[in-house]
């Protein structure tokens, strides 16, 4: 389409914006003497040593700023929301490494929202603070075993129950009723936002891994008592489980937020990264659960 700008054009524009921001005389801060691009190269080298060669990706790469940014410190997060950028900057970090998108879409097409004031505010904040945001999604998932889901297993304290040999992967846990499983997940993931479809007393012994959509939920439901999913569409996944129950299937669905499903694997990225960037501070900045659960009279 003729009114779209390419990612390259966007990055050129961003670099100009960053240069303009730098020329305004930003707050002095300790530089590591290392650029964001150099950090990325070290990450790529370590990934390659682990068997994950760098390949072209729609997702992975710079989404704000560029490789020339002088790094003062690294903030690792799940989703680079504006509040995450603010917290990173407040702690003197200007290189944000994230798993998810900056502009609210898997592919970050900047042309869609380029005139939006929130979009502009985010760009301006990054420019004002000489920030770069670099995304590692596909390549982190490609590590074996997938660190994102190993992070979730760690946080759930279910690592010893995690069966990586099955497809889909699953947890074989000490049996407990579905409601108790929900409460356990609430406690371990530090959130009330655990939405469940299923009989409260359903015995849960196997919990299937899946991501966000019904086509991934189904294999987990076929092979396990419940599927554990991150923010799935209610109009199909919830209705499917309702129907399965009506047909006599003893199944359940546990939905948590995208953030609480996957951000623990980025928390683990901090420990993976630190040894290869000894000259700088690396900090975990949690994205957190977007949802609160109000104490309604239900």
């Amino acid at each position: 389409m003729e009114n779209r700008i390419s990612r390259r054009e966007f990055m050129q524009w961003m670099n100009l914006a960053l240069a303009a921001g730098a020329s305004l005389g930003l707050r002095a801060s300790a530089q590591s003497g290392v650029t964001a691009g150099e950090v990325v190269e070290r990450i790529k080298t370590k990934l390659a040593a682990a068997g994950v060669a760098w390949r072209p990706s729609y997702f992975d790469g710079f989404h704000l700023g560029g490789p020339e940014v002088q790094v003062r410190g690294v903030a690792v997060t799940f989703q680079p929301g504006l509040d995450v950028l603010q917290r990173a900057a407040a702690n003197g970090k200007n290189f944000v490494i994230c798993h998810e998108s900056t502009f609210w879409d898997g592919f970050d097409p900047p042309q869609v929202m380029v005139d939006d004031p929130v979009h502009q505010a985010k760009i301006k904040f990054a420019a004002d603070h000489e920030m770069a945001v670099w995304r590692i999604h596909d390549h982190w998932h490609r590590m074996k075993p997938d660190p994102i889901f190993m992070g979730l297993a760690r946080k759930l304290e279910w690592t010893s129950y995690y069966d990586l040999t099955t497809q889909p992967r699953r947890y074989v846990i000490p049996e407990m009723p579905l409601e108790q499983a929900g409460r356990y997940i609430q406690e371990k993931l530090e959130t009330k936002n655990v939405v469940i479809v299923g009989d409260r007393n359903l015995p849960v012994r196997t919990v299937g891994d899946c991501v966000h959509i019904l086509s991934t939920v189904l294999p987990a439901l076929y092979s396990c008592d419940v599927a554990l999913v991150g923010e799935t569409p209610e109009h199909d996944s919830f209705e499917y489980v309702r129907d399965a129950m009506s047909l006599g299937e003893r199944k359940g669905l546990i939905m948590i937020s995208h953030e609480r499903l996957e951000e623990w694997g980025m928390e683990d990225f901090v420990g993976w990264l630190k040894p290869i960037v000894p000259e700088m501070s690396v900090e975990w900045v949690p994205t957190g659960d977007p949802f609160e659960v109000p104490p309604v009279r239900a």
Binding site: G81, L82, K122, E179, N193, V195, I213, P290, P295, V296
Partner: protein
């Protein structure tokens, strides 16, 4: 004995009333059953669940008109991330097979009018939701194709109070908020269904007086949670605004009832009933 219309006749009458809008939509119109079957009765519901199929058979209402698809194929018009791989995944699915067999063996017909209704009356679902909660939407221009409606509340209130209102009026069982449930709101955007796409939410929120959003669910169209992430960024700019997610199904119910009323006007010779759906989800509390 007076002849009854067939499903196909009803379809033609509805399509004519809709202005025949469904030239490109997928997973709309007849989803299952033989359209040449005479109509014994009509029920309108949010989703054609197994329970509603059984009820339709028991009550001899062999034409079920729904907002959702019996085989979970939600995406009607455009590609959506949520529909990725779904048609292949359900090909041999036992739940889908059981529903399909039940529909055929009981001579039921299931039609879906989701995208058609939304194109015909873009605000109907959200306006009906607002009215069900007791709010009067502000008038909007006819050419405005956004789904959301905006309401000024009679007096400022909290998101928690709105959540309790929704529990009472819509029987929703798992409301959630983005932002504190103690947040006070006075002008709200009401969006039935999901908050996505983010572009639509952004246009609605360009009204800076809006300090609250009531929606059905978060977002999954923009990959996973595009509009919710956008909303968090709106809040991070310093704007005082919070969102209440009621649950997708509960948010669509009032609009489906409204669609049933409209269809009754199009088909005055048929007795059309609306079947409200129960929210299947819950959150461990206490």
């Amino acid at each position: 004995m007076e002849s009854r219309p067939t499903g196909r006749t009803v379809e033609l009458l509805l399509n004519a009333a809709f202005g025949n809008p469904m030239t490109t939509a997928r997973s709309e119109g007849l989803c299952a059953g033989d359209p040449n079957t005479e109509v014994s009765g009509v029920a309108v519901c949010y989703a054609p669940t197994v329970d509603f199929l059984r009820r339709a058979a028991n009550e001899q209402k062999n034409l079920l008109i729904c907002r959702e698809h019996p085989f979970f194929l939600h995406s009607g018009v455009n590609y959506s991330y949520t529909s990725e791989g779904l048609e292949a995944a359900i090909k041999d699915d036992p739940v889908v097979a059981a529903k399909r067999d039940f529909i055929v063996s009981h001579n039921l017909m299931v039609y879906r009018y989701g995208a058609a209704w939304d194109r015909f009356r873009p605000h109907a679902q959200s306006a009906a939701l607002a009215k069900a909660l007791g709010f009067d939407p502000i008038k909007w221009p006819e050419e405005d194709r956004q789904r959301a409606v905006v309401c000024d509340l009679a007096s400022e209130t909290t998101l928690l109070a709105l959540a309790n209102l929704a529990v009472e009026k819509l029987q929703c069982t798992a409301p959630r908020t983005v932002g504190s449930f103690h947040a006070r709101v006075s002008r709200i955007a009401v969006i039935a269904g999901e908050t996505d796409p983010k572009e639509a939410l952004a246009r609605v929120l360009s009204d800076q007086k809006i300090d609250g959003v009531i929606a059905g669910a978060g977002g999954t169209i923009d990959e996973v949670d595009g509009a919710i992430s956008y909303f968090r960024d709106v809040r991070a700019t310093g704007r005082k605004i919070a969102l209440l997610a009621l649950g997708y199904g509960p948010s669509e119910g009032p609009g489906v009832e409204e669609m049933a009323r409209w269809m009754q006007g199009v088909l005055p010779d048929l007795n059309i009933v609306w079947w409200p759906a129960q929210d299947p989800s819950w959150i461990p509390r206490g």
